[in-house]
Symmetry: C2
Subunit: 141 residues, 2 copies
DNA sequence: CTGTGTGCAAACACTTTGCAGGTGT
DNA sequence: ACACCTGCAAAGTGTTTGCACACAG
């Protein structure tokens, strides 16, 4: 498993405290993270503006990417190794699951996105499949 | 084709000017609409707050629904007749295409969402498939 | 040493709420 | 007549920008 420092280095990001902490949080967490969630987790340790800029630089350097949802908050997830970059767009070739109870978005690593028949003329570059419902944990209760 | 007035009536929404105009706009437009887009189209004719409330009531009454994307703006589309309501969630069983050039989101009516094998424990209620790339119109140029 | 990252303050943009008056049914 | 809708004002929340200083490489 690649370490936090190796990962920062590979993506040409300077090794600073906030970056180490945010990246660690991403590596430890099994669901997608929003700005607000990260802010709460790191308590008031860092300035909110710095967090905005950190997420932006992570995204621009291809370390994380946004996951589509139908709410008004953006959620980010770490790019996996199979996340091929094409003109700054990402192909996460698996589905995501959003639980309506706990509001967390999980990667369904083993649910691939099937081949689709896109109409003539359209050039498809990226596919995102979002499933919503109730997750395994919330379903037990 | 159901008229604007019939549609408002069927969804138990009062027949007011702003509602007629917004609904007409949805019916005329082949792509999904954001708050901002609607506001520009109707110029300064209505208060922004009223627009927020109108979209909210349209959504709550099942006339429109949100389409997932990975930007920070919410986009709405008219619910089709095959958009079955289940606990206030919608099943639009076709994909959407977001063009990275013109930034419009189209319904791909004939691209259905295939059956998926969701992991045990997860209860899937809604599926959204978002394809992005370049649309047929922008591709011509 | 140099260029980048951070924190603070302020500006800016977006969304919600309360209330008074108007309108649809 | 009544409930609901609209517009205005204001509050609340989220995001961006400018600048001075600190720090990584």
């Amino acid at each position: 498993m690649e370490s936090v420092l190796e990962k920062l280095n590979r993506f040409k990001l300077r090794n600073t405290e906030i970056r180490r902490e945010i990246l660690t949080l991403f590596l430890e967490t099994e669901y997608a993270l929003s700005h607000q969630y990260i802010e709460k987790k790191l308590s008031t340790k860092f300035d909110r503006v710095t967090l905005y800029r950190t997420l932006k630089s992570f995204e621009e350097n291809g370390l994380i990417h946004r996951i589509a949802n139908d709410t008004d908050t953006i959620e980010y997830a770490l790019c996996k190794d199979d996340c091929h970059e094409q003109n700054h767009k990402h192909n996460d070739n698996h589905a995501h699951f959003r639980c309506e109870k706990c509001l967390k978005t999980y990667c369904l690593e083993h649910v691939g996105i099937p081949d689709l028949h896109i109409p003539n003329g359209f050039k498809a570059q990226e596919f995102q499949l979002l499933v919503s419902g109730v997750c395994a944990k919330c379903n037990q209760v």
